[in-house]
């Protein structure tokens, strides 16, 4: 009996050890399969194509080694477009964070019609980018748009927002920031609602008020949300496409082209798949790098409790 008693339990444990991992594999497999097919495979295929010369149509991509990378990094146009991307992402990010925090703070006050106001603030985020682009195309029109009226109030002519290189990058930045602002505001509003009142009360009892309270207590408590908004803001704005397509088509010249726009243009206008894949790879590496740096620097300053 003692022999049986001693040998049985390990058998049960071995069976249990396999059952749980097996169940785990079965449960995650569909998700992993979807990720592999629709995320990893295209990304890896894109990376492979970046070493090729191909127009989508010829039977085989031609292996060209690092030629596309050399061409990209030797191209003045690339650095111009990279700079556009930095301006677009940077300005849109700062504007939406500052503006979103301000609007979120206002929304959190106990005011009349606050529910309606919250809905209105969030509404632009629900509009498709193409619709936002068309809307702003009319507002920016220097001859019959809202811009003409606004500038006329101070006796100035409206800038040629979408048809001159000096202004086109600002046109797409403003339109994009306007669209995202409501989203950031609502996220901040929700986070402000969740701020621990006991901490705020304690700070007030210690004499902290106004800006001091916001800077030393509220903002650090909001840092996880800010960190989230920074990361998603960078990735989302770097991928913006539809607003650029409807407002400026990346022009005049390449004055409002971002890296994402160039990926499209090189692939589907120039049919230069290798070059496009190279730009996409560079964009991916840049975003991954920025996110990593963010995680290692800003992430350390984030307070989760």
């Amino acid at each position: 009996m003692s022999t049986v008693d001693l040998s049985s339990p390990p058998k049960v444990r071995r069976s249990g050890q396999w059952r749980e991992p097996l169940l785990f594999v079965l449960l995650v497999l569909p998700n992993v399969a979807v990720i592999v097919i629709f995320a990893y495979y295209p990304a890896i295929y894109n990376f492979i194509l970046s070493f090729s010369n191909w127009d989508f149509l010829t039977p085989r991509p031609e292996w060209v080694g690092l030629r596309n990378y050399i061409n990209v990094f030797n191209s003045q146009q690339f650095y111009g477009v990279l700079w556009n991307t930095i301006i677009f992402v940077g300005v849109a990010l700062v504007a939406t964070l500052v503006g979103g925090l301000a609007i979120g703070t206002l929304l959190s006050q106990r005011l009349r019609f606050s529910g309606f106001t919250r809905t209105m603030a969030f509404a632009p985020h629900m509009l498709p980018g193409a619709a936002v682009g068309i809307l702003w195309l009319f507002m920016f029109d220097p001859r019959y748009g809202l811009s003409r009226w606004l500038f006329s109030l101070v006796g100035l002519d409206s800038p040629q927002w979408t048809t001159t290189s000096d202004w086109s990058i600002w046109a797409i930045t403003i339109a994009y920031a306007w669209q995202r602002l409501g989203f950031v505001a609502i996220i901040y509003y929700s986070a402000i609602q969740e701020l621990p009142t006991e901490v705020l009360e304690a700070a007030k009892m210690d004499g902290a008020t106004g800006l001091r309270l916001a800077r030393s207590v509220a903002l650090p408590l909001l840092s996880p949300v800010t960190f989230f908004l920074i990361i998603t803001g960078i990735v989302s704005s770097a991928q913006a496409f539809d607003i650029i397509a409807t407002l400026t088509n990346g022009g005049p010249g390449t004055s409002s082209s971002t890296l994402t726009w160039m990926v499209y243009r090189e692939a589907f206008i120039d049919f230069d798949v290798g070059r496009s894949a190279t730009t996409a790879t560079v964009l991916f590496l840049l975003l991954a790098g920025v996110t990593l740096i963010q995680a290692r620097t800003t992430g350390k300053k984030v307070h989760y409790s």
């Binding site: 594999v25 995650v28 039977p59 085989r60 001859r143």
Partner: protein
């Protein structure tokens, strides 16, 4: 418990890692395999069919057309033009009982090319595709298009078409595209404003005329702003081709790029002065919209826009030949679309597609298409048909479009690839919008166009050989 937890974490990581590696490995393997296979050229390039290339998904087929050979046509048109095309296809379907043709709008010429590219990758293709001018060459070189000469006979061949449109559908002496929705650019102007100011009712004939009329047009106030004489656009490469010819220049002479020569400098410097120094014109995001709104008294547009303008403007619409400069007669580039048959596994469907093309080239149908859309009549017999003559009588602007046909010719070879046309459009936009230095712009443009020609020299020489 702690040990158990840790082991589970460890095993999950191992499993995930294993799955990831498996996924990456599978992806890599498929990707490498994919490099060669999805769109491999047919074993016999001269074959009339292409194994494995089936028909793209069809919309639902009405009961009365069931059991026929189905032909799927991908058209770039939207709105009224697409509806006109659908009416013609319905007429075709009702005219016989063996073929059912159905059209799907792809939203524009560029999306059509993009979607056909994807369709070829998927090996599920339409039977007929409408291409913009010579933007079918990439598909020809991929072996995707069916040679059309084998379908021609005494009643239907290139001879029935207006010859100005024929050259763009021929490569290496063989026909791959036949004319359908062909157009040329026109100079549109607000005839009401011209009449009001006592300016010539027939509009300007040269750019110098326009510069002369501009100060008078600017005496008219439009919501607090002077009426502008002309609005350029951000994608003016097609019109720019005609302007280059008007100044005695060209984008290229054969395969020699001439975009950086004196006539082109003269042209762009003249336009820069016209816009930025004289303030007689400006660059609009949508010139046609500004023209319809009465903000500008003139703009360029396709003959295909004629019907739309006629029905949308609330002033007397004027249409004139494109403006001249140093040349007595301004040549105009042909544009619009032609029809090609996509090579597939079915010879039967290709024959049916050719029957539809034959039908669309019948004078009566070509005339109907012209009358309903404003695109030019594509066959010689349609030019003198009752329907076309009646339209000329009723709306003389259509007569202007047809008369200008005598000046139509194929665009210069250096502009046959999208990379070049986009580069030209961007260069013009920099001059029109930014007042960029013309010499600098043309230096950069020349570099791009030379590179494109050199990249495709062999292909272009093959196309041009006969």
């Amino acid at each position: 418990m702690t040990q158990l937890d840790l082991s589970m974490v460890s095993s999950r990581r191992t499993v995930l890692g294993g799955l990831s590696l498996l996924g990456l490995g599978a992806g890599l393997g498929t990707a490498l395999a994919g490099c060669g296979s999805p769109n491999a050229a047919p074993e016999d390039a001269g074959a009339t069919t292409r194994e494995g290339f089936s028909q793209a998904a069809l919309p639902s087929i009405p009961e009365k057309y069931q059991g026929r050979t189905n032909v799927l046509a991908w058209f770039p048109w939207t709105g009224g033009s697409f509806e006109a095309a659908e009416r013609l296809l319905t007429k075709f379907n009702d005219s016989q009982d063996e073929i059912f043709a159905v059209a799907e709008s792809q939203g524009g010429f560029v999306p059509t090319n993009q979607k056909l590219t994807a369709a070829l990758q998927a090996q599920a293709v339409p039977d007929i595709v409408a291409f913009s001018d010579v933007k079918w060459l990439q598909f020809y070189f991929a072996g995707a298009l069916s040679e059309l000469d084998r379908f021609f006979d005494d009643e239907w061949s290139l001879d029935v078409y207006v010859q100005n449109f024929v050259k763009e559908g021929v490569a290496a002496g063989k026909t791959y595209v036949v004319p359908f929705a062909r157009s040329t650019p026109l100079f549109y102007y607000n005839k009401s404003r011209y009449t009001e100011l006592g300016l010539p009712e027939e509009g300007p004939t040269t750019w110098d005329d326009l510069a002369e009329f501009a100060p008078e047009l600017q005496t008219i106030d439009v919501s607090g702003k002077p009426l502008m004489s002309f609005a350029f656009g951000p994608v003016d490469n097609w019109f720019g081709q005609a302007e280059a010819w008007a100044w005695g220049g060209a984008f290229s002479e054969g395969l020699d790029v001439t975009i950086n020569e004196d006539p082109i400098h003269d042209w762009l410097n003249w336009q820069a002065k016209f816009i930025h120094d004289d303030n007689f014109a400006y660059m609009a995001q949508e010139p046609g919209t500004d023209f319809q709104a009465g903000v500008t008294a003139g703009c360029h547009g396709s003959t295909g826009s004629l019907m739309g303008f006629e029905s949308s403007v609330d002033f007397d619409l004027g249409a004139a030949f494109l403006l001249g400069k140093v040349e007595d007669t301004t040549k105009v580039p042909t544009g619009g679309g032609g029809l090609a048959i996509v090579k597939s596994e079915s010879e039967e469907r290709q024959n049916a597609a050719a029957e539809l093309m034959r039908f669309l080239a019948e004078p009566e149908n070509a005339a109907t298409w012209h009358v309903e859309t404003g695109y030019l009549p594509i066959v010689n017999e349609a030019l003198e048909s009752e329907e076309v003559l009646a339209l000329r009588e009723e709306k003389p602007n259509f007569g202007v479009a047809v008369d200008q046909l005598a000046n139509a010719q194929t665009a210069d070879e250096a502009g046959w690839y999208d990379t070049s046309t986009v580069a030209v459009a961007e260069a013009l936009a920099r001059v029109y919008g930014d007042n960029a230095d013309v010499a600098e712009v043309l230096d950069e443009l020349e570099t791009i166009m030379v590179e494109v020609v050199e990249d495709h020299r062999d292909e272009l020489e093959e196309v041009l050989s006969s």
